[in-house]
Amino acid sequence: MNLYRAELRRLGKRRFVRYLVAAALLVLVAIAVGTFLGNQKIGPAAFAEAERTAEAEYRAGVEWAEQWRAECERSQTGGAADTNRFPPNCADIVAPTRDMYPAEPYLPATFTFHREFPTTLYIFATLTTLVFFAAGASFIGAEWTSGGMMNLLLWRPRRLRVLFTKLAALLTGALAVTAPAVLLWTAAHWATAVWRGSTAEMTAGAWRSVALTELRVVVLVVAAAAVGFGLAAIGRHTALALGGVLAVLVLGQSGLSFLADVTDATYPEAWLLPMYWIAWMDSSVELTDWQTCAGQPGCVPPTIELTWLHTGVLMAAVVLLVSGVAAWTVRRRDVS
């Protein structure tokens, strides 16, 4: 328990971690404030104004169509029809109808919580995942490179206990920041919806869906921290974790994509990590096998559903593998 408390304190004292988390929170606050300021509530006046704009646009469209048709007829009467500019039959130029100009596109931006909040969670998840991956990698990587880890082992020689206690402290820190942050993020966007948008359609089921997505975001952040930590523990350097992930994302994914392409794999997108990311955030994603219907009009391509459960299994496997290799490396390798 002493070691755990000491590691929690150490995590809190790390300047890199502090600055990184503070910068991420500032970015999130800026986005939330920007969203609040960039939206407004739609009242009858705003709707009437949008209707007026739509009507004006409709009239302009009708006028333009009539002018064009007149020019077309003049051109055909003169015997020098410009086939590139006008259709063969000028009657084909018809004026738009009123229903083609709804008022909605002319309304000012408004924040509809039910529709737009899940999208903002993507931003939140991306930022916090990256931050805690880097923080996790630095928490042990910098300790190895600075000699702090060796000093600690001179006090606590049970290496695995040290490794997993540090990891526990890191995950506690990640949880302690991410869980309140996601709640504040929700509250901020709810406030935006109340004062600058709409909270309609937020039924109990909708709230349940939001809560589950947020829970998955927190799990993702914790997993990213553990993977960053594990990779840096294996390489004994922060840069190894960052480089390793970059290699997997760029080279690995390009390679898998190419392999799926040359082997004519069904559902090639199932090889790509972004699909798993989308499945995790949206709870599921549908993949379509377009190859089956190539050149067959009317064919309905088969689909499969990738769910958050698939992503969860993949994530758990990666975390377990990286942590296992890290534990083996830390236990077996000499400290020199």
């Binding site: 002493n2 070691l3 408390r5 000491a6 590691e7 304190r9 150490r10 004292k13 790390r14 300047r15 910098a142 300790e143 600075s146 000699g147 702090g148 060796m150 000093n151 600690l152 082992l153 001179l154 006090w155 606590r156 020689p157 049970r158 077996r332 000499d334 400290v335 020199s336």
Partner: protein, 328 residues
């Protein structure tokens, strides 16, 4: 006496595809008695630091036995580490933490109460700058901080690898005083250093390692006596008489002696009794103004022993190569 540290037949081998097999420590033995300052000497790459790292559980040995405070290590290291303070090689600390934070985190990790932190900072002369970040410290100050971290545990055994690194002469003297005080308080100190004069002054006993093997060990006085060669320095009232004295000594009856003439004195080796020199010279009408045994210092003994070990190893390798060649 009780042994605080015992190493027997320690082996550590590194295997690398590029460099092949290297025996960093090869059957090394060491014994440190309680209440002593024990010097641990060896040239660069001789296996000193590997031995200390192995002892402290940082490096896994390939063979041999080790014990600290009577407990076998690395098996029982967690049980005794609380009574062992150590710094290994150059001190490294997280640069953005203050000295106080560094010690406080170590103390908390080790389950120690923080009340000793001000005391050890004061002991190593860092109390005034304890609130500053370690990155602003000089090498000497980092060294002091490392010693402070080792002292935090109130250790029964203190292992210091090059503790005088980066210290100014005043700092070295303070460190010497500190070690004497610690030993007086019952701590045993193992001190690895390249400053041989310092070791000679401060240590009760030494172990010298070369090429991973012990070349000598024992109380400092005994090690020096064993390698002083039994020479005598002879001065006469008149330096002009030195040639005559040389002749008298080399032609005297009894076992043959070796005489080396210097500008103002003679060095005589192979003399069984110093009285034989005075008697022989007096008989020749030459009068001795100084007759002192030539004592070796630790530096010369160290250089001699480590050079011998290198030569032996070279011979061993030549013989091995010859045998390999003969076997073909």
């Amino acid at each position: 006496m009780t042994a605080v540290l015992e190493i027997s037949g320690l082996r550590k081998t590194y295997r690398s595809r590029r460099r092949g097999v290297r025996h960093a420590v090869d059957g090394f033995d060491m014994r440190v008695e309680a209440g002593q300052v024990h010097g641990f000497l060896g040239p660069n790459g001789s296996g000193k630091t590997t031995t200390l790292r192995t002892l402290l559980g940082l490096v896994a040995p390939n063979g041999g036995r080790m014990a600290i405070l009577g407990q076998p290590v690395p098996q029982q290291l967690p049980a005794v580490i609380g009574r062992v303070g150590a710094i290994v090689e150059s001190p490294q600390f997280f640069p953005h933490f203050t000295a106080r934070d560094t010690l406080s985190l170590l103390a908390q990790a080790g389950g120690l109460a923080p009340h000793r932190i001000p005391a050890v900072l004061d002991l190593v002369g860092l109390a005034d700058r304890a609130g500053e970040r370690v990155r602003t410290y000089s090498l000497g100050m980092r060294q002091r901080l490392a010693v402070a971290s080792a002292l935090l545990k109130e250790p029964a055994l203190l292992i210091l690898d090059e503790p005088a690194n980066g210290l100014d002469p005043a700092g070295i003297r303070e460190m010497r005083t500190l070690m004497r005080d610690l030993v007086a308080a019952g701590t045993t100190v193992v001190l690895s250093s390249h400053i041989l004069g310092e070791i000679q002054v401060i240590c009760d006993s030494v172990t010298i390692i070369s090429r991973g093997r012990r070349v000598t060990a024992g109380p400092v006085a005994e090690v020096l006596a064993a390698h002083s060669g039994g020479g005598l320095r002879v001065r006469l009232e008149a330096a002009a008489d030195l040639p005559a004295a040389e002749t008298a000594l080399t032609t005297a009856d009894g076992p043959p002696v070796t005489v080396t003439r210097h500008a103002d004195h003679l060095l005589v080796h192979g003399v069984d009794q110093p009285a034989r020199v005075t008697r022989t010279l007096a008989a020749a009408g030459l009068y001795v103004s100084e007759l002192t045994p030539v004592t070796a210092d630790l530096e010369s003994v160290f250089l001699q022993l480590t050079a011998d070990a290198d030569a032996d190893a070279d011979v061993d390798q030549t013989v091995a190569a010859d045998q390999t060649g003969a076997g073909r």
